[in-house]
Structures are given as C-alpha cells and as structure tokens.
Amino acid sequence: MNFDFSEDVVTMREEVRRLLRDRFPRGAVRQAIDAGQSSDPAFWRLLGEMGWLGVAIPEEHGGAGMGYEPLCMIAEEMGAALAPAPFSSSIFLAAEALLLFGNEEQKATWLPRMASGEVIGTLALAEGAGDPRPAAVKAAIRNDRISGDKWPVVDGDLARIAIVAAQGADGEPGLALVELDAAGVSRTLLPAIDAVRRSARLILTDAPADPLPGAQGWGAIERLLDRAAILFAFEQVGGAQGALDMAVSHALDRFAFGRPIGSFQAIKHKLADIYVATELARSNAYYGAWAIDNDAPETPVAAAAARVAASNAYSLAGRENIQVHGGMGLTWESDCHLFYRRARELALIVGSPRHWQGRLVDQLASRDRE
C-alpha cells in the first residue's frame, strides 16, 4: 500500500514551494493585477527552465517524462500560490490534447516549445452559456478551416495556439489546432471574475486549422476533459489549502473580546469543516492521480469525483476565508478575494459543478451495469 506521492515528488515539492514562496510572496500577485499583467514572462521562462512545464511530457517531445504525479503536485502548489501563469491552460488542456490526439508531426512541432514555455496553448471549447455537450459545439471545420465564436477561452489573450472544438462535415465534434496569430482570428479580452487569469473571445472566420487526427467524436473530448479535471482538482485543492492557511493565520492573529478569534468555536468549527472538505478533496484527487498515471479504466469516475470534491472544498474555503477576515476580507488589499474569485473560475472551467455531479452519477450507474 502506497497511497501517497513518491519520495522523489515529496522532495521536489519542497523545491517548488520554496521557489513559489520567493517569487510570489503575499501581495506580489495583486501587484501584477494592478499592473495589468495576467502573466509574469520572466516567471514563465523560469518554469520552462526548471522543467515544470514539461514534467509529464515524454522526453522524446522535449519534456522530462516523469509522469503525472509530479505534475499533480506542481498543480497543487501553483493553486496555493495563485501564481499568475497560463500553466493549466497550456499544460492540462493544450499539451494534453496534443499528447492524446496529435500526430507525430504535430507533437514534434509543438510539444518541445510548450515544454520550454516558448509557446503557450489553450483550449477553445465553450461557445457561451452551458456545460460541455456535443450539441453545444456549433463551430464548424471544413477543408481545414474553422469558423465559430468561442468564449470564454481562458488565457486566450496569452496563448499562441488554441485547440478548438468544432464539428466536422459528418456533424461529429472533434479538435483542431489553430494558430491565433493567423488571418481569420480575432480576439477580444473579456472582463471576468478571476482578476489574474483572463479570458478572451475568439471569433474565427475561415481560420486555418490543423485537425488532431485522434480527436474525432465527443468521446475524445470527454477523455481530455476527464484528465484535465483531475489536474484542475489538484490546483483547486491547493487553492483551498491556501485559503484555509490564510484563514487559520488570521484567526490566530486577530484578537476580539480579549482573545484570539480562533479560540471561539464558531470560528474553530468553521475552519475544521474547511479542513475536512479539503482533505476529502485531496484524497479524491490522489485517486485521480493514480488513475491518470496508470491510464486506468476507473479514470472517468475518479475524474468526476475529484472534480466534485475539489470544487466543493475550494468554494467553501474561498467563501469562508472572507467571512473569517471580517471587513478586511472585503478589501482589495487582502488576498481573500483572489481565492474567492479563483474558486469560482476553476469550478466552471471544464464544466460546472452541476455538470460534473451528473456525470459522476452517470458514470457510476454505467460502471454498475457492466
């Protein structure tokens, strides 16, 4: 029985934490927002140099080929640090799509540059309101050209390439790679809840597209989303832990009625509940890490469970962290709102909590039928 990260990953975590702490002390993220930056280019280059971007990308494609455990751990730490970088869009979504469904040429062209950080990618799936479903993909690809209206596209302002969902001539949805500086692509920045990670709207008009040959049919898109859901779950668990740590620290420092507010059961029990939700989410995410690392048939159930638990935990932690901080939690200067905003953004990014709850129940029912 070994249901924990390997010793190597535990050691690596210390290095990741140290770097993130030095680079993003409390307040640095807000300064980036105030300066209108949603990414720190020097930090992004560093992530590439450290090998974090390509940690799960095979060596033959310019990565470190270390598997998914270290990637999950980095996702968790990035989530806790609220690091301003298009890490999840580029790695969990775009690089994963290329790895799963790209041909050799596509992989050779893009993956080494994504591992180094030279190229940032994202996924363009949504077309306005609604959760992921085949009928919602209205964008169309004909003769390697896509037309459609995609929004929100997270990190669409920074990305050089997007993996775009579009229906082919047979009406089946699939994925194709679009270079966003090409003719026929117009992008506008959208005001969004998350103050750091921004979203764009991509209007594609006969934009040149390179279909990913393995990604034909809705099942392929679900497979990509399942795997991404597990990686996002780690980012969410990290965020929930970050918000909990912040709330605990405030509860110890802040005095009222002559004693630390953390000595009042109304506060203690609230924090205990966040701890429990976060640990349950962490445990579900661990199972997800095991599933993707082994490409296990349990992945769809593991992914939905990890996502439901992580969205629950981060929502609770983000919301109650503000409550514990009282009036301070309402100010721009406190970091509370960053967690609160990110919790919502991440709860929606590959489909809403309601969508994943339903998917979990459906997957469990179909597992029982088999």
């Binding site: 605990v248 110890l252 000595s263 029990h269 701890y275 199972y287 469970a305």
Partner: protein, 411 residues
C-alpha cells in the same frame, strides 16, 4: 502510488483470508443490510464470544498485543489488513472492542504486572467483556467534570455515584471506572482510575430504552461499592492521564459506521420513481448522490493515506477524526433522504413493505446516536481545530480553582 501490498503484507493477507474462508461466510450483496438490529441478544453475545476465541486461538485477536499476553506483536498495518478482510465476511458483532482495543492497552500502559496478567488473556480469548464507565449525567463532553466519589477505607475504596451511556454494561464482566478522589483539588488533578468487577455488590445496571426502542447502553448506579486498592489503575490523582491513554486508543479503534451508505441510497434511487421517472434522473437527487459519493470514497482514501503513513512507520494523528465526523452526519442525511424518496410510504416501518427491510427507517432512529457517541460532532471539530490546525482552546471558567468551587448551574 499503488494499491498493492508489499510481499510481507500480501503474505499476511493470504493468511488472514485462509483463516476467514475456513471459519466464516463471505458477505453477499443481500448481506449488506444484515445485522442492522442494534440490540444485542444473549445469543449474539455468545456468538461474539465464540468468534473472539476463534480469532485469539488463530493469533488474529491481539495483532498489536505483546506475545506474552497472547498477542502477535504484529504491525499496525497487519491490524488494518485484518479489519479490511474481516469486514468482507459475515461475522458476529464484536463486544470486545472496548476490552481488547481500549481497556487492555490502557492497563498495559499503566497497570502492574499482576493486573495485566489477571486481565489480558480472559479479554483476548473472549471470556471477559469490558465496558467503559466514563460519562455521567453531569459529565459528557466535559468528561473531567465527573462526580462519582471514591473514598479510601483501609485496603479498599468505597465508591458512590452514577454512570450513564455505558454501552454493553448489562453483559460486561469488568468496567474501566473513573472516579473523583479529591474534590478540593483542581478538576483534572483529583481523579483516580479503577478496574471494577461489574458483579460487585452495590452495582446496579439499568438498560436505557433508546429512541429506536432498543437498549444497547445503560445507566450504572454505584452505591457503597467496595473496590480493593489492588484494582486501582495508576496512582491516586493520576486518573486523567490514564483516561487520555484510553481515549487515544478509542480514536485508533475506528469502527465503521453501520450506514446506510452511498451504495444503499444509490440502489434505492435507481429503484424508486419520482414523477414517473427513476429518482436517479432527478437533478436534486443527483446532486446529493454525487456529494455523498465523494464523501464516502474521500473517507476511504483518507484512510488509505493514513495506512500509507502507518506502512512507512508513522503514527496517524487526530486527522482520523474525519471518518467519524463525516460518516455520522452522512448516515443521518442518507436515512432521511432515502425515506423522503419513498414519498408518503416512507413513514412506514413494516419490514415487509418498506424497501431493504426498513433499513432507512431504522437508521433514521439510530443515526443521531452516531453523532454523539465516542465524541460528539462538536468535540471532534474542536479536536481537529486545536490539534491539527493549531488553534487555541476555548477560554474556560473551570481553570485554576478547586473542583468543588466550579459553578454547576445558573442559580
């Protein structure tokens, strides 16, 4: 990460399975809801004793115990493996948890060699059942507020008072008894611990009828009960220290909640209809199901994480409180929701008419107890907040004064 046993663990698991296959029936799907009546009959007690003896003779009853007292001196991981495997078989409900996993480890930590030698084997081999005489009418969560008095009289102590919520007292042979020996001292300082023969003159056990109509805990009245000083556990005034050992062992002796659990409500939601469609298709039902599923497997995987810590030689800490805290409320919520899914018929408890032999209806009545017994939800949250998160204790009005001077009412 992997879920496989080490070669040593695998070998032990095979040994456990061979023993269980030879001595018990593997659970079938229908057996999930078996054993749900919570009152112990004399036949069940006898069956529990026989099963305990069988396990002890095979070396599986005291996996963590020293060999000289009949144990195996095994690893915590072996203990966990045995529990994991035993759970898959139909075996009698154990009445030995309090003796083997709580009382005797405490006696081994604080008792004399004679005391250990007298009590260890009879407990391990199923001959003597133990109960825990802790809570009192005025001392529950605030355990150290207990008032049962022990007064020295030569080589004996004379005990007067009342204990309550004592599980299994009506068929126990011995009790772990905490008393107050000096009310002039501060609350935690004036306590002394004894092992008491439950058939001693002056002990009266009255089963309490619980809300489900059954009785599995009792009131215990102690009137001039004489206990030899040789049955004192630890020094005079050191009772709280002994109690803390016992409570720590209680947390390790995790017992799984009886449910109904996710699998049961999931089955029900697929078999009943709401507005002419299977309940499982209803959005509100799906939301609840998904959340219970992630709690259920989350607790399971959290236990696997703590087993991993055990396997790596670390001691699991108070984070083990999560399972009980989450499981108790979940059982109550699932019972209530399950009954509501049955619509107007949900209020019927007839096992012929209500689904799953009226398990959900029974659980509605016994599940509130799960949130109180063995540490209330509130105490567990305090434990997590103070010992895991490092938050300070509540300000107290009973510190630094004699026990006798602590306020007890608003009048």
């Amino acid at each position: 990460m992997d879920f496989s046993d080490t070669p040593e663990e695998a070998a032990f698991r095979a040994e456990v399975r061979a023993f269980l296959d030879a001595n018990a029936q593997r659970k079938t799907a229908e057996a999930r809801s078996a054993n749900k009546s919570r009152a112990m009959t004399p036949e069940q007690v006898a069956a529990s004793k026989a099963w305990q003896r069988k396990k002890a003779e095979a070396g599986f009853a005291g996996i963590l115990w020293p060999k000289k007292y009949g144990g195996r001196e095994g690893t915590p991981m072996q203990h966990v493996i045995f529990l994991q495997e035993e759970e898959k078989y139909v075996v009698p409900i154990s009445v030995f948890n309090q003796g083997v996993n709580m009382a005797l480890p405490t006696i081994m930590a604080h008792g004399t060699e004679e005391q250990i030698a007298r009590h260890a084997r009879p407990a391990l081999f199923g001959d003597e059942i133990w109960c825990q005489l802790f809570s009192e009418p005025a001392a529950g969560s605030d355990l150290a507020g207990l008032r049962t008095r022990a007064v020295r009289d030569g080589d004996n102590w004379v005990v007067n008072g009342q204990k309550i919520w004592t599980s299994n007292a009506h068929f126990s042979d011995f009790g772990m008894l905490m008393t107050r020996t000096d009310p002039a001292m501060a609350k935690h300082a004036g306590l002394t611990f004894f092992m008491v023969d439950m058939r001693a003159p002056g002990i009266e056990v009255r089963p309490i009828k619980q809300i489900a109509g059954t009785s599995n805990f009792c009131e215990v009245f102690l009137s001039d009960v004489r206990i030899p000083d040789s049955q004192r556990l630890g020094s005079v005034g050191a009772g709280w220290k002994v109690a803390l050992t016992m409570l720590a062992n209680e947390r390790l002796a995790v017992s799984k909640a009886e449910g109904p659990d996710f699998e049961d409500i999931f089955l029900l939601a697929r078999s009943v209809e709401l507005d002419g469609r299977p309940a499982v298709e209803d959005g509100a039902v799906r939301e609840r199901l998904a959340n219970w599923y992630v709690q259920t497997v989350g607790v399971h995987y959290t236990r696997l994480r703590s087993n991993t810590a055990l396997s790596r030689g670390k001691t699991p800490g108070p984070e083990n409180s999560i399972g009980k805290l989450v499981g108790a409320s979940k059982a109550q919520e699932i019972a209530t929701f399950g009954i509501d899914l049955m619509g107007m018929a949900g209020a019927v408890m007839d096992p012929e008419l209500a689904p799953m032999e009226a398990w959900f209806q029974q659980a509605l009545l016994y599940s509130p107890g799960k949130r109180i017994a063995g540490g209330t939800d509130e105490i567990l949250r305090n434990i997590i907040a103070e010992r895991v998160l490092g938050l300070p204790g509540e300000v107290r009005a009973d510190k630094g004064i004699a026990f006798a001077d602590i306020p007890t009412s608003s009048r």
